[in-house]
């Protein structure tokens, strides 16, 4: 059924998409974001784990957690874990900075997902090595641009 309300709602959403300020919408791809973060050094698959449900009902609040098995000593610890997405308006999701005082390189938060897409968690260790895990997520109700 197509009521006046539906038409108006759909129309304004379309106008909003057209009128998004250029600065708010990231034009770089997921791979470009990963390359930028990596700074020309190699990124290997493994070590870092990104936990997120493969099927998400509500993209407005999606629990995720990231972790690296690390002793978290001064000599051997995780410095940073970042999460990028593929299809939100911006590639950045969160950047987490760890120190040996953390004791464990693990963190959790809740994020927004605009649509079904790929996520990546990237970890940088104190020995300079960089690790990645890619995960695909299916989203049924999208976040970000709905009022």
């Amino acid at each position: 059924m197509s009521t006046r309300r539906h038409l108006l709602g759909g129309g304004s959403a379309w106008l909003l998409l057209r009128a998004l300020p250029a600065a708010a919408v990231s034009t770089i791809t997921l791979e470009a974001a990963v390359q930028q973060w990596a700074g020309g050094k190699p990124v290997r698959t493994g070590r870092v784990t990104l936990d997120v449900a493969p099927l998400v009902e509500n993209g407005n609040t999606v629990p995720i957690s990231v972790r690296v098995d690390s002793p978290m000593t001064a000599a051997d610890h995780v410095q940073e874990i970042v999460v990028f997405n593929e299809k939100n308006p911006q590639r950045d999701v969160v950047r987490l900075y760890f120190t040996p005082a953390c004791g464990r390189a693990e963190a959790a938060t809740r994020i927004r997902l605009a649509t079904s897409q790929q996520l990546v968690a990237l970890a940088r260790l104190s020995d300079g090595s960089q690790w990645a895990q890619y995960v695909n997520v299916l989203v049924t109700l999208a976040a970000c641009i709905e009022s």
Partner: protein, 111 residues
């Protein structure tokens, strides 16, 4: 939005933390995390207002920090771990757009 005093936060720490054993810290702060992409229903874009930074210090030393982006859900939740060698004051600080700043402190005395 810099009204730190009325901002509500939840900070969950274990009842009986132990020295040298990592424990989980869970934090939530009430904040809309307005991503600057939504319409107000009248064709105007609601201006961006998000929390951009979270920091946790043990005494004076930075222990954990996070940069947050518009992709973080409203009422940002962050859980992380700390390992303490003795009694300490934990400082939690949130910073954001439009001068938003909020700070909480908790004393912990691991057994």
């Amino acid at each position: 939005m810099a009204d730190g005093a009325r901002t509500r936060t939840l900070i969950h720490l274990p009842d009986k933390p132990q020295r040298g054993v990592p424990f989980e810290v869970r934090t939530t702060i009430a904040h809309p995390m307005e991503n600057g992409l939504r319409s107000d229903g009248y064709g105007n874009v609601v201006p961006r207002s998000i929390i951009t930074r979270f920091e946790c210090r043990v005494g004076e030393r930075a222990a954990f920090a996070a940069d947050l982006y518009p992709a973080i859900a409203a009422n940002p939740y962050l859980a992380f771990w700390l390992r303490l060698d003795g009694p300490a004051t934990l400082t939690f600080e949130w910073l954001g757009d439009n001068g938003f700043a909020h700070r909480e402190t908790r004393a912990v005395d691991p057994a």
